[in-house]
Amino acid sequence: MDLDINQYIDVFVEEAREHLQNMNDVLLELEKNSSNLELVNEIFRVAHTIKGMSGTMGFNNMANLTHEMENVLQAARSNEISINEEVVDILFECFDALDSSVNSIIEGGKESQDSNDSLIEKLWKILNKDQSNKLDGKSRSESCKLNEYTEEIIYKASMEGLNAFEIDIKLSETCMLKSARAFIIFNTLESFGEIIYSNPSVEDIEDEKFKLEFSVILITQLEKDMVFKELNQISEIESITIDHLEKGKVAAAVTAEENVEIKLESTESSNEENHKTEKNIQNRSGKVGKTVRVDIDRLDNLMNLVSELIIIKTRMDDLSGSNNGENMSEAIEYLERITTNLHDAVMKVRMVPIERVFNRFPRMVRDLAKELDKEIDLQMSGEETEVDRTVIDEIGDPLIHLIRNSIDHGIEIPSERLEHGKPEQGTVVLKSYPDGNNVVIEVEDDGKGIDYNKVKKKAIQKGIVTEREADTLSNEEIIRLLFAPGFSTSDKISDISGRGVGLDVVKSKIESINGTIEVESEPYKGTKFIIRIPLTLAIIQALLVKLDEEIFAIPLSSINEITNVDSSNIRDIQGQEIVLYRGKTLPIIRLNEILGTKPRDDNEELIVVIVRKGDKQAGLIVDNLLGQQEIVIKSLGKYLSGVKYLSGATILGNGNISLILDINSLI
């Protein structure tokens, strides 16, 4: 098996995810509407596709599981069984198993080794099948049942001196492409004579609708030994059994002495080969790369822009010889327009709908609600809002956390809700919409809201504030306490939230992608978390500042304001310089000390860039301001990933590199 399947893994993963997502959606739908056969059909189709895909890739556990799912779904389609809650639950379990298998493929290039026997057993139970019979999956395929027509042919053949053989072939379990292997075997056999019967049918074999064994009846001039020898040369066959069929008498009864069953020597060597391929898969760089599916129109647009770029390049080449200033500036204007459009187009290519994150929530909410005995209606809107691919990867965990919070802490148990005159069913609204250069995501529940007193008590208990401080806190300040490290208000430690990961993690995660989070809450009405994240992380607005002769960039999103401070106003309090600004103390950071540049000659007026990290502020002293500019963020690479105070670099118009300051680590 030299076939390299690695190159297809990316595609496989991408597609499998899409299909699984689809399955998840339909399953949720089916749970609500279990009599809808259309939905059963849809799941069947998806399971079938996944079976085919995973079979081709050699992910046999996945293929087997989907195959069994298909059986159940088929029975449901033909009304042999009815879909009830139990069936849906088991189907969900199957989905989870498939999902985790795909995840393990992403991580290591291999499916999970669990063959899901217990799940398959459950599926059989639904069908009331005799489990012991099929569980080992190794029961020999039934001997060919011959119909009259085949018997007739065999009879005629023997009259003409031809031999008829029933050949049972078992492929080795490690065989990657079963149908391809079977095809090779069929081809070989057909070169000796004629195949008049096959079980399963040729179509099924082509579709990989067989486990490992199949049998055929071959009419040939050759002797048994010859046929055996030829077949023996094909790799990945576990065993071959050849029976001679005589005069149309049913072969199943053929005596044992006619039986030649030989374990193939080649099995071992082919196993070895397979080990190699397995190793290869493991050796792949470990993780499956990130891919983005792009609308072809967007790519076409990109291509058009690039061709325009080439046109303007030749035009500028022509112009560079002449000294025609007017034409030159016209060309530059044109170039500017193209680059802006190109920038836009590339951004769009990187954009994916936020649906990718949202679509895992219905299932999560369903499971949580079941677990907590709460009734919850999840309403989602704005799934089509597009954000940068990198944002998508980062925003998932914080959202999961917030939704869990809403369900666990926010929404009351049904009886409590009735007492407050609310409907039994709680509502969680997940909303997303674009707002200028940002995307807003809201998580809103109609639960009990934030209990300010409880938060205060907890904060005192945790030593985050003192009792005296707590008395003076406004509601907004209390809400901020929620984001303090190590804060959690739930009385019970549940599996859902309160595992030590608090809202502070959510906040820092969102801030790490230059986003912000706000909370609005009203007692007994509900709580709303509002997250704002930038559309893209690759290009940002930044302020360029100068320190000595070096230029650094500060992301505009973390700058509050820029001001001048008289150096005489700076006070030194226990080694920390501060200045009183707008009635508040502002810590001062002298960037030249941190970044090791020459200090500027002492000057009365200092330029201070006030930056923020969450609620904290600090004043950065810089030598000079150069202005605001759109910059493209470049990574400093792995080698320099550990360097403090830097989050990346950017290339300036003159080709020089300027470093981007990491404000989060500075404050």
């Binding site: 970044l595 540049t597 470049k634 792995k638 080698y639 590199i657």
Partner: protein, 143 residues
Amino acid sequence: MHSEIDNKYVIFKLNKEYYGVPINQVISIERMQKFTRIPNGPHYVKGVINLRGEVIPIIDLRDKLNMEIKEVDNNSRIIIVSNEDIVAGLIVDSSSEVLEISRENVDKPPNTAENDYMEYIYGIGKSDEKLIILLDLSRILEY
């Protein structure tokens, strides 16, 4: 075919000695250019350069190997090398040629670990009368 490429080394000079790195790990050889200093970075990282739109860290090989530091001059070159997914530039005194050194002609480095830099060396190659110190890039590019 494979062995041919495997046995080829880009040879450069550092402090009068000849050094070599496998040619399949060399991306390009560049002239000295302007760096952007990396504050708080390792002392042997001179800075970063813009190499055709990519930000590449530059390591002063003399500094990294604990040799006496020398001002760059007209002969100084930057050898851009890669190891796994790290790309970096190495400042060398001068680069000379590409040599083929067959495996039989590569000896293990002497075991007398007098000098720190032995750990960065994976073998000593012989070509004609020259001795060439072969560097282990995976160690040099460790971060």
